[in-house]
């Protein structure tokens, strides 16, 4: 019983301990106030580090939020991008060795070779149960585009309509999400109306003619003779020039430029059928006929896109899910964030020497005070605690200054960044997260206490007799 009693923490003992902590904290605060300039300067060094780290956290968080927004409004979580050649995802194609065996499915460009997906593979994918909406990535080239409002011929980019992204419309109406526009319909960006000098409303229902051209074919002598025999010289001339076709569509909607949209902000969008028609017509007779970079598809309802991806990969395809895309963007953001945070940590490291230095000077200056306190019965560990708490106060002060400035900078810079980068309403690249700030502050205090360890040990070991002999 008696032996046990020693280890029981009685309420009084606990209260006394709390009192001691409170007293020491107060005394530490008072000591710092007596050297205001020095305390402030030391904590400003920490504030620089705290500010940098807080800003990097805010920028990372903000950018992740923004890209998350972007991805969620643009990419269906079930979506998959499937290609034949996995080197596309890594380096944009395999570095070419120069000379290689002929393969109709391999395209060579800019020193990189890339295996393309052929129609057979696409048909195979489309037949699968776990995939729906298999759409090749059509590369569309349109020679010219004409509007009923104007006699001028224009050139413009044309892309396949993405039924999963609903853009804001300036005029007209888009079908519901997931539903494509009709084959004879076209969606124009608002910029077109501006160029044409008409209002978006005026374009709705109007005719847009797309002119596409088949590449000129090089005919052998026998073929040329045959063409002349059947179609005459004009036929041959037409072949040499390339056949043209005009696709007539009507404008169903004019979209606004959107800040959270990846695609089609400067291109006219046509339906998948029209896109196929254009792609096939313009590549007919060439090596790239019915060859595509890959397909976009969706994991069928009830299938996990990650599992579908794994299965596709076991069959020699390469696929990316919406999640992969997100993590790719996040990786970039994270790396940038680490670099900035790294500078902050360096600044913090430098400031630690400031704390150590300041506290050493403080110990020297207060030798007699330490001696007196020890003479009056203060224990070495309590003296040490006093100096560690002083360091903690410096860390706290520096943290509050740095984080406060970061909060201020976030509030002031956000509207400016938003305006400069035209991010659109409510999108901010800097996000100040309160719990990040609290964790950072706690870390700073701990780091400061660690830095205060050496000076505090010196204080604790001070011989009171020697100390009281000075002055």
């Amino acid at each position: 019983m008696v032996a046990c009693k020693k280890f029981v923490i009685t309420p009084q003992r606990k209260e006394r301990f709390n009192m001691k902590i409170a007293d020491t904290l107060r005394r530490a605060g008072r000591s710092l106030k007596q050297a205001k300039a020095r305390t402030l300067l030391t904590s400003l060094a920490i504030a620089v580090g705290a500010f940098t780290i807080m800003m990097s956290l805010a920028a990372g968080e903000g950018t992740r939020n923004y890209s998350n927004n972007l991805i969620q409004s643009n990419v269906d979580p079930q979506a998959l991008f499937i290609v034949q050649d996995d080197s596309l995802f890594e380096s944009g194609g395999t570095a070419s060795t120069g000379l290689r065996e002929y393969d109709a499915d391999v395209s060579e460009q800019g020193g990189r070779s890339l295996k393309l997906m052929n129609q057979e593979a696409i048909d195979g994918l489309a037949a699968r149960d776990d995939l729906t909406d298999v759409t090749p990535t059509y590369q569309l080239s349109v020679r010219s585009i004409e509007f009923s409002q104007s006699d001028t011929r224009y050139s413009a980019e044309v892309a396949a309509y993405n039924p999963d992204v609903i853009s804001e419309v300036a005029a007209g109406k888009l079908p519901e999400k997931g539903t494509s526009i009709a084959a004879d319909e076209i969606v124009l960006p608002e910029g077109f109306a501006t160029t044409l000098g008409v209002s978006p409303e005026e374009l709705i229902g109007n005719e847009v003619r797309l002119t596409i051209v088949q590449p000129s074919s090089t005919l052998g002598e026998a073929e040329a003779r045959e063409v002349i025999a059947t179609e005459g010289v004009e036929g041959l001339a037409r072949r040499a020039q390339g056949e043209t076709r005009t696709i007539t569509t009507s404008v169903v909607a004019v979209t606004k430029q959107s800040s959270t949209s990846f695609t089609a902000t400067t291109a006219a969008s046509v339906s998948a059928e029209t896109a196929k028609e254009i792609a096939e017509f313009t590549t007919e007779g060439t090596d790239s006929y019915q060859k595509y970079l890959g397909v976009t598809a969706k994991a069928a309802e009830g299938y996990d896109p990650a599992k579908v991806k794994a299965e596709l990969e076991s069959e020699g395809f390469s696929a990316q899910t919406a999640e992969d895309l997100q993590s790719l963007i996040f990786t970039i953001v994270n790396v940038l964030q680490y670099i900035v945070a790294g500078f902050g940590i360096l600044a913090l490291l430098a400031s630690l020497f400031g704390i150590i230095n300041t506290q050493y000077i403080s110990v020297l200056e207060r030798t007699s005070q330490i001696g007196l306190m020890k003479a009056l019965g203060m224990r070495g560990r309590d003296v040490s605690r006093l100096f560690r708490y002083e360091a903690a106060w410096i860390g706290f002060l520096g943290g509050v200054i740095g984080i406060g400035l970061a909060a201020l900078a976030t509030a002031l810079l956000n509207p400016f960044i938003n305006k400069t980068l035209e991010l659109g309403e409510g999108n901010y690249l800097l996000a100040f997260v309160p719990w990040h700030a609290l964790v950072l502050l706690a870390c700073l205090i701990l780091i400061a206490i660690a830095a205060g360890y050496f000076p505090s040990r010196k204080a604790a070991k001070l011989d009171p007799i020697e100390a009281l002999r000075t002055e």
């Binding site: 306190m373 009056l376 019965g377 203060m378 309590d382 007799i465």
Partner: protein, 232 residues
């Protein structure tokens, strides 16, 4: 009762060894005022440090109320010092940048006196040295005599049983020194606390009940006036 028994203190070893105290023995009854008188370098300060447990002995023991303090752990000696002893120094050692109130409060913090009781103790101590009105002033704004009064307030705030004063009037003029002496002796009388004054001033020593004269680390003479003054 403080018993000093065969205390020897040697600094260094071998040929370079210096004997600061050589077989010092005497007894101090409770509640008396004692002067430890000696020239500088005689070992009187070392003796004070050893009696208060701040310094260790090479051999011998210090018994306070029958207990050898050197048999205790450092933690217990520290706790004992914070509750039973206090000090006054020649150069005051008041904390100039702190208020008088905070200066006096320090021993209470160290002795872990509950915060609720502190204010009364502090104001009582300040009033007894007539510095009650200066409670909020910074200590550095006080005159020399006021600083030593503040030091006395700090020394007596926790009602110590033993009060050490190391040349308490050494830095003060005669008039101011006189006030300080009066304060010390009245505390000694009123609280029946032991007052140990370390000094080289024979006049101050004369005013004490006992004089222990130290020379070259040895007790040269002990004069006991306690019976003459009607004490004990």
């Amino acid at each position: 009762m403080i018993e000093v028994r065969n205390v020897t203190k040697t600094y260094g070893r071998g040929e370079g060894a210096f004997v600061a105290l050589d077989d010092v023995s005497f007894e101090i009854p409770d509640g008396v005022s004692v002067a430890i008188l000696g020239k500088s370098g005689s070992g009187k300060s070392t003796l004070m440090h050893i009696m208060s447990g701040l310094d260790s002995v090479t051999s011998g023991e210090i018994r306070i109320n029958g207990e050898n303090i050197f048999a205790k752990k450092q933690k217990e000696i520290d706790a004992f010092r914070s509750r039973q002893m206090s000090f006054i120094f020649q150069s005051f050692f008041v904390q100039g940048k702190e208020s008088c109130y905070d200066n006096v409060g320090m021993p209470l913090e160290i002795a872990e006196v509950p915060a609720s009781k502190r204010k009364e103790l502090i104001m009582h101590a300040l009033n007894s040295v007539e510095l009650g009105e200066k409670a909020k002033s910074k200590a550095k704004d006080l005159s020399g005599g006021q600083k030593q009064r503040l030091a006395i307030a700090r020394a007596i705030v926790n009602n110590p049983k033993i009060l050490f004063a190391d040349e308490p009037t050494g830095n003060l003029d005669t008039t101011t020194g006189g006030i300080i002496e009066d304060l010390l002796f009245s505390y000694n009388r009123d609280k029946n606390a032991t007052l140990i004054v370390v000094t080289h001033d024979p006049e101050l020593a004369e005013k004490c009940d006992m004089q222990i004269i130290i020379r070259d680390g040895r007790v040269q003479e002990i004069r006991d006036n306690t019976t003459a003054k009607g004490k004990i």
